[in-house]
């Protein structure tokens, strides 16, 4: 039973089912606005620049990056972890809230899942390019070869391959399957023959009979149920890329939960950024209400507190361990050393600024929400920088200490992935219903004001 008095109204304006369809599809049934073309132009340019930088890297080698013997993982791994983190929240958002039967997910899950797919695609690029000889990338899969040798199952890098492939497949499937009924709605409303044909192809011949819906619902629960632990597993595995090595600042048992929470943190922030843009540009304020944003804001305070506690715990354990390497990494290298700016940027952006969400006025102000959501993602990027670079640049042997600066190629590849993400999101906003219409219709009556909507149409 949904309690409107406690939870708030999820769909404003006592809408009929037909109205929900019309309002959500309205932006796609109009011509694309100017900002859409502008955005596509900018993001496509960034994407093309990224492709150029990737081609350069492949043809000339990793030497084009600022990596060296010590800092062998630079921006590529920072960005890989950053994107994977963002990619986590989509599914975390959608699936955890599905399993917990939180009805407010319905306005946001579609965009969150779309974001996941593009973010994971962007993330997956980095380890592949990082291999150097990407034409040999298939060596990582266990397959019978003339060398008779199998892969090393004890390596977290192999776990990464299995986990990220599975995650990309599962989240893309979950997203697509969720879209099929809505694509059928677009198909049936299409006015041009070509559009109808395309959406007919995409909607897999969908007709919502009861048997179909039953199977569909059970399948959604199964996919959600198995993907929820996968979300936890994937980022735990990513953290083990670091935690299983004996580097100061990495070799710690807090890493798996710390990474998972961090991932959900950055992903939720990205969902917030995206939903504010969707709400504003598509005028969908009736579906994404301030209550939705407030709910995300409250979750962000909670996660921010966990992040803050994790930072403190890391520093405390470094001090408590009494190990010189750990003490140096935390107290000299990170807190007061050359990378102090990055460390304090991380703490400020992730643990301090989100505390503003304690104020209801901030939680319900779109400008503040937008700014803080961006700040969190910047902070989460700095967190990954801290982990990767500060530990590697100054390890146990002072003779090998070295500075790391990214080159233009690395920066361009990163911009390219931002372009890929942007292009993906814009295409999504233009051609796919941005909200799960069938799910909104399902919760419409019990979560809106007017019980009897049948007379309106």
């Amino acid at each position: 039973m949904y309690l409107k008095d406690v939870r708030g109204i999820l769909i404003q304006g006592s809408k009929s089912y037909g109205q929900i369809t019309r309002e959500i599809l309205a932006p796609q049934e109009r011509n694309a606005p100017l900002w859409w073309y502008g955005g596509m132009f900018v993001f496509s340019l960034m994407f093309l620049a990224g492709i150029y930088a990737i081609l350069q890297t492949i043809s000339k080698g990793i030497g084009l990056w600022g990596l060296n013997n010590n800092v062998a993982w630079g921006w590529a791994i920072i960005n890989f972890v950053w994107w994977i983190g963002i990619g986590h929240a989509g599914t975390a958002f959608s699936i955890f809230l599905l399993v917990l039967r939180q009805k407010w997910r319905t306005s946001i899950n579609r965009a969150a899942e779309a974001m996941t797919v593009f973010a994971v695609l962007a993330a997956g690029l980095f380890p592949v390019i990082h291999m150097g000889r990407i034409w040999d990338a298939f060596f990582i899969f266990p397959y019978p070869t003339s060398r008779d040798l199998w892969v090393n199952y004890n390596s977290p890098l192999f776990w990464d391959v299995v986990a990220i492939t599975t995650y990309l497949f599962a989240s893309a499937s979950f997203w697509y399957v969720g879209m099929i009924p809505d694509l059928a709605t677009v198909r049936d409303r299409a006015t041009s023959k070509i559009k109808r044909k395309i959406y007919h192809l995409l909607s897999f011949g969908w007709v919502g009979g009861m048997k179909t819906w039953k199977r569909y619902e059970v399948m959604a629960i199964i996919l959600g149920g198995v993907t929820a632990p996968l979300v936890i597993a994937v980022h735990s595995i990513v953290s083990m890329d670091f935690a299983t090595s004996v580097m100061p600042g990495w070799h710690t048992t807090i890493f798996p939960p710390y990474f998972v929470v961090g991932a959900i943190f950055s992903g939720f922030a990205m969902v917030l950024t995206l939903m504010i843009i969707v709400r504003k540009t598509y005028k969908l304020g009736d579906f994404v209400t301030m209550d939705h944003f407030e709910a995300i804001g409250k979750i962000l305070i909670f996660i921010s507190l966990i992040m803050g506690s994790s930072y403190v715990t890391e520093v405390f354990i470094a001090w408590f361990s009494g190990v010189d390497g750990e003490l140096y990494t935390f107290f000299h290298n990170r807190i007061t050393g050359e990378y102090a700016f990055q460390f304090w940027a991380m703490v400020t952006c992730n643990a301090i600024i989100p505390q503003l969400f304690w104020f209801k006025k901030v939680r319900r102000n779109l400008t503040w929400l937008f700014i803080i959501s961006i700040v969190i993602n910047i902070g989460m990027w700095f967190e990954r920088f801290n982990i990767v670079v500060t530990s590697l640049s100054k390890d146990f042997l002072p003779a090998t200490w070295v500075e790391y600066d990214p080159t233009i190629t690395e920066v361009t590849i990163y911009l390219g992935t931002l372009g890929l993400f942007g292009v993906g999101v814009l295409l999504f906003m233009r051609f796919i219903p941005v909200m799960a219409m069938n799910e909104l219709k399902m919760i419409n009556k019990e979560t809106s004001i007017d019980k009897d909507l049948s007379s309106k149409s």
């Binding site: 040798l149 299995v162 919502g208 819906w213 059970v218």
Partner: protein, 171 residues
Amino acid sequence: MEYSKIIGVYDDEQKLYDSIDQIQEKGYKVADVISPFPLEELFEKLKVNTRINLAAFFYALIGGVIGISAFLYYTAVVDYPLNIGGKPSLSLTFVLIIFVGTIFVVVFGTLLTFFIREKKGPGAKIHFEYPGVTDDKFALLIDRTKDLSEENIIEINQIIKNSGAIKVDEQ
């Protein structure tokens, strides 16, 4: 022209439920209901069920747990045991791969089962089309079988009309 289906079109699910109750009370069979979103109440009324969850369980058990475990054991312990820092070949870390691999098998298998059972795929034939059933209308379908006499059909039409359908149609 021979019609094979009687269609009652509704714009409110409550009226549809009442109509189904009445039709079933009279002993007629509802073939299906086409709706723009799942109507959980009807799953019980129409006794709709699925074994897709059982299928998923077996994919997990056979494909995932047994299949992947056997593969890992064969490759890493039997076929070519690698000595990595003297650690045992049969390692606990297999659990991680089995866990994630099982999820992959379940997702893949469940999707495949769904699409095969539903005969759905890119460009698949739409087996029933009626304006609005993917938007804001609910279509109640009753098969016009040989068992139904003309009186029966008139009675069904009457029930559908009286229960608040916006239209009664045939296809």
